[in-house]
Subunit: 221 residues, 2 copies
């Protein structure tokens, strides 16, 4: 189960604001991720987390004031990583270094394969995020802030390059963003969270998904 967890993201989780975690604290975070993901936050008990972590229940509350604080410390960093294609300068630069021709194709392919790996490595964390975002305002607020400050402006810049002038001026980028993200997330959620046991032909599905988005956007007027 934990073999699936992205080691880099875990590392980041475990070093919130330069603070080193003790070995037992690491065990607590790992156990919490597993159990929150399996049963949901509300149905997960601190006694079960302590048991799976191989730790006394009191140890959890040495490091986290409440069960909710433990959840938040796990989930908030995931949001930033979720949006990383729009945060990292380098990521978009690499796309625009290629030939002008078929830039949208490159953009989509790069984003989808990158986020595919992210979902594959962090399925448990993303399931927790997906579930709990509806019930915790801290998560919603962080999401909105990152969308407004980081994602939306960067995405708008990317679309200015990738769309025709008429399209960029007449169609709201929010709408194009919604259509694109729905299609990509629809694939990744189906692939890793809703029906992971289906016999997926990933390469084929991703190619169809890229074609679908590209032609879908191209035809908008």
């Amino acid at each position: 189960m934990m073999g699936q967890l992205d080691k880099e993201l875990l590392q980041e989780l475990l070093n919130v604001s330069d603070k080193e975690l003790t070995p037992k604290q690491t065990q607590i975070v790992q156990a919490a991720i597993e159990i929150f993901s399996e049963k949901g936050f509300a149905a997960a008990s601190t006694s079960e987390i302590a048991k799976r972590a191989g730790v006394a229940e009191g140890t959890i509350f040495r490091h986290y004031k409440t069960k909710k604080e433990l959840l938040i410390s796990i989930v908030l960093p995931v949001i930033s990583n979720f949006a990383v294609p729009f945060l990292a300068e380098q990521f978009l630069n690499e796309i625009f270094e290629g030939e002008e021709f078929e830039e949208m194709d490159q953009f989509l392919r790069k984003v989808i394969y990158n986020r595919y790996e992210f979902f594959r490595k962090n399925t448990a964390l993303l399931k927790i995020l997906l579930q709990e975002m509806f019930y915790h305002s801290e998560i919603q607020d962080t999401f909105k802030q990152i969308y407004m400050e980081k994602i939306a402006p960067k995405y708008r810049n990317a679309m200015k390059r990738l769309l025709t002038k008429e399209q960029f001026e007449s169609i709201p980028t929010e709408t194009i963003f919604r259509l694109t993200i729905s299609t990509i997330l629809g694939y990744l959620l189906a692939r890793f969270i809703i029906v992971p046991d289906y016999d997926w032909d990933d390469e084929r599905e991703i190619e169809y998904t890229i074609q679908f988005i590209q032609n879908g956007i191209k035809g908008l007027k």
Copy 2:
């Protein structure tokens, strides 16, 4: 809050297998829908449900053996109604009575406007379904059964009419279904559950969504 609930669906909920519900039982179901939707199943307490329903806590367990049985009795009928455009013969017949030209456009428009109303009237029920499907195998099993027995074959029939022969034979209908449903659900979930307070221009969004899907599919090869 309950004013939003689809009266027909509620009626169906309240008459599971010809069984009439007592007035207090109706109040229990209504309160449970509200509270499950607000806090999630696991975080909802039977005492709070009883309080909001204006009923003694024991009354809940006169009608439902367990809290979970109450949830299941509420959620399972929603799945059938969720899939209704693909179940009702009449629905598809009306679409195919029109001109051959632009049949796909009619199909998408009819499905989207129909499901838009369904989401608008049953937001609370759909939020419960969305949340709890990941944790209760009864819900997952019912979903899979309805998809395999009802939705998939009917959708395949519809696509046989709406796609070119080459497309229908070369592209898996499951993939086309996934791409179409992702886009439609992406819109409806954003519209009613994720950011319902956004200032939505529904007619414009729906038109773009139809264009996007139609051109997206048309370009698949």
